[in-house]
Amino acid sequence: MIEVHIVKVGMADLNVASDGASLKTTGLGSCVGLTLYDPSRMIAGMAHIMLPSSEIAREGQLNLAKYADTAIPELLRRLLELGADKRRLIAKLAGGAQMFAFAGGSDSLRIGPRNVESSKLTLAAMGIPIASEDTGGNFGRTVELNSQTGILSIRSVQHGVKEI
């Protein structure tokens, strides 16, 4: 068995991989795991997006990986540096769950769906197509993207492993 090198992506973090390495992020709840992949160059990128828009940021030094509208352009920049071709890139999304349901909950409790929405809008504006997604629901996910195959495998406690 070939050992696959795994690059970990933390919360509000992003990273890129190639040469058969995998990208992995754990415990996605309302956060969105967004991946971009160039199939012919086998270059992959992943972002663990926490919040929908950098407009609400109040931090001094902006963490680009945290917000959907800044993480995706930054991820694209990193992929292009590695030699990816923007025209070939395809996106996959997972996460954006609503972990706790409350009747009449405030806006922050809908953060999962809003993260997904904002990620899709940003992708559309950049002209990157979405190949597949596994979003929503009320459960956590751990996702791993293989840069060899472009397959995104999604593990959850209740539903086992799923590949998209």
């Binding site: 933390g10 919360m11 509000a12 973090d13 754990t26 415990g27 996605l28 709840g29 309302s30 956060c31 926490m50 919040l51 609400i56 940021a57 109040r58 931090e59 001094g60 963490n63 945290k66 769950a97 972990m99 706790f100 349901a101 409350f102 009747a103 909950g105 405030s106 922050s108 409790l109 953060i111 009320n138 459960f139 956590g140 996910r141 751990t142 406690v157 209740q158």
Partner: protein, 206 residues
């Protein structure tokens, strides 16, 4: 946070005491429910990077049972009561005589019972804080989830998310008898709550 630039040690001590009082009341409530002594560790209060918050309960992918209450009012924040599966099974057995289910699935009745236990404990934690500070704190209806710790806890970090990459966490561990760490209270007040708490407790801000 700028609030902690001046005399941070003293302010952290105050928050530790806040956690101590809150969790102390909750421990008493749990002890009454179980009719058994319940000990607790000294609370830890610090800024924890988002990435490391789930490490306190065994890592991001560790499956935990969490009861979550959103606190509104003058001192808003997020409140979690977290326990491991063995602990949840013990609670169900002792309190209700339910034998632990063989599979990982909990029945609706079991989840409802655990949710109510979490509600009682979190309620006593919060009401003692409200008494102490004189600030209104109204918890939401409790909600329960059995899932990865990382996925659950990231929910409590959103208010801090816009400000930086770490959150101020008041963490108290329950210990029951000789058994090791059993339950965690995570209280994550919203960033703006700290100043109000300090003012009402007479802690000099500047």
């Amino acid at each position: 946070m700028e609030l902690f630039n001046h005399d941070p040690d003293f302010k952290m001590d105050v928050l530790r005491e806040v956690g101590n009082i809150g969790a102390g009341h909750a421990a008493t409530a749990l002890s009454r429910l179980l009719d058994k002594p319940v000990d607790m560790a000294v609370p830890t209060v610090n800024f924890v990077p988002f990435e490391m918050i789930a490490d306190r309960v065994g890592g991001s992918e560790e499956v935990v049972i969490a009861i979550f209450l959103r606190v509104d009012g003058e001192c808003p924040g997020n409140m979690f009561f977290l326990m491991s599966k063995p602990q949840a099974s013990r609670l169900l057995l002792v309190l209700l005589g339910f034998e632990a289910a063989e599979s990982d699935k909990y029945s609706e009745m079991e989840l409802s019972a655990l949710c109510e236990i979490g509600n009682i404990l979190a309620g006593s934690y919060l009401s003692s804080l409200a008494d102490l500070t004189g600030l209104s704190m109204s918890p939401s209806v409790p909600s329960i989830a059995v899932d990865m710790a990382g996925a659950i806890l990231s929910y409590g970090l959103l208010q801090f998310g816009t400000m930086g990459d770490d959150a101020l966490l008041i963490d108290t561990t329950f210990l029951k008898g000789e058994q090791e760490a059993e339950g965690h209270f995570f209280f994550i007040p919203d960033p703006q709550s700290f100043e109000r708490m300090f003012v009402s407790l007479g802690v000099p801000i500047e």
